[in-house]
Amino acid sequence: MSSVFGVDITSEDILENLSFFDSWEERYKYIIDLGKELPAIDESLKVDANIVRGCQSQVWLVPTVEGDQYFFQVDSDAHIVRGLLAIILSAFNGKTAKAILDFDVDAYFESIDLIRHLSPTRGNGLRAMVSRIKDAAQA
């Protein structure tokens, strides 16, 4: 259930690490490596109901609540998307509903240089993901 993201690796860590890189190669390598650390979700969870629409690749999201903490299992068939999912999870995973709803995701994306360079299609997919997370926290 619990991945390192949001727990051992926070959004601050991500921002700090990304700030060390000058080249796109390093940034992408880092993001892809983050994706590799993301645990795959169980095949049985890859059902239509868990698919996040608006992404070119397939993306799944399964929220669970433990006490007042929200956890998210996510997966994708694309490596770069998995890395981006890890970046999102670092901000939201294991947080309370209030922390999730209060988190300024636009500012976060803004400070990650990479996100600015994403195509609108890809950007929309990420936004769709974030709204699913916020919806879960609002429920």
């Binding site: 796109w24 068939d77 770069i80």
Partner: protein, 406 residues
Amino acid sequence: MSFDVNIIRQDFPILAQTINDKPLIYLDNGATTQKPNAVIDAICHYYRHDNSNVHRGAHTLSDRATGYFEQARQTVKAFINAASTDEIIWTKGTTEGVNLVAFSWGLENLKAGDRVLVSQMEHHANIVPWQMVCQRTGAELVPIPVTEDGELDMDAFKALLDSRVKFVSMVQVSNALGTVNPVKEVIELAHQVGAKVLIDGAQAVAHWPIDVAELDCDFYAFSGHKLYGPTGIGVLYGKQALLDEMTPFMGGGEMIETVTFAKTTYNKLPYKFEPGTPNIAGAIGLGAAIDYVTALDRKAVAAHEHDVLQYALERAAGYEGFRLIGNAKNRAGVMSFVLDGAHPQDVGTLLDQQGVAVRTGNHCAMPIMDHFNVTGTVRASFALYNSREDVDGLFNALDKVKYFLF
């Protein structure tokens, strides 16, 4: 005449730029081609000097705009060897051309028990309109199977041909696979059972001269923007006798002769299918694009394009993890592939970082993706300004993609 790709490239100003600090390698020509100066200048010139509505005003500008607009129609007529400009209908692209035929000819002529055949490798633009019209008329839309190599299964096609088949609508060159279909034979066979035929020439027109008289197709649709022309303009060719019988499916100004609240009579061809103000600048731009292409030595262009595509396929054959999707013997313009273990979207993103523009995804052709059991591919598609160096650039960039993903 001959052909020098380095000289040709200078006609296309957009190519001389960097993307992510790398020289642009544009390999997304199947989606749209870039425009030569001749086209850009023709459009600018029109707006700077001649802009006016066509067939309407009683003034010099309107006469001039109408003149250039109709001259462009003449250019298209000659380009595809139609019998008359009455057979050349301006559309906004291939999609509108197919819709026009499906909704005008199809709604009027199809009924329950009839069949419309399309191939399994069609673009959605040549599936969905027929599906819509079949739903309304009770006719049945039947896919013609494609072989493992991505070629049309001619035996299966012949087996499907019987008196129920009223229409065959087929792509000449598949945008997803690059397969060139034997459309002349398809048309001949379809005619033998009395079916009409539309050819979707979207991916064909840029590559070799099209002769609708020789093909004997009933309809032929293409888009200007895949032929070095502007977006928002396309052509539907139809045999005059058929177009004469058909009732327009869109109404409005320009397409009428007289209107009362009791009855409207339609204008003559081709205007009866062109309601509303047309894309005048687009038509003029397309005319300029055709002039540009036909002024080249087209044999030399085709030989050059063939060489670049063959070279790409050769490099692909020896490239580890490279799986070509579609292996037709006769192909044009397109190399569709997956890298084993890599999502096409990842490949596309990492190629883009290196200045290489390709398309990834299902290419608006989901049925053929299902056939090959993939959700999408990476597609490199070539135009006359691409070179062997572009192919090398693609494979160098793929080396780096592998380094990232594996």
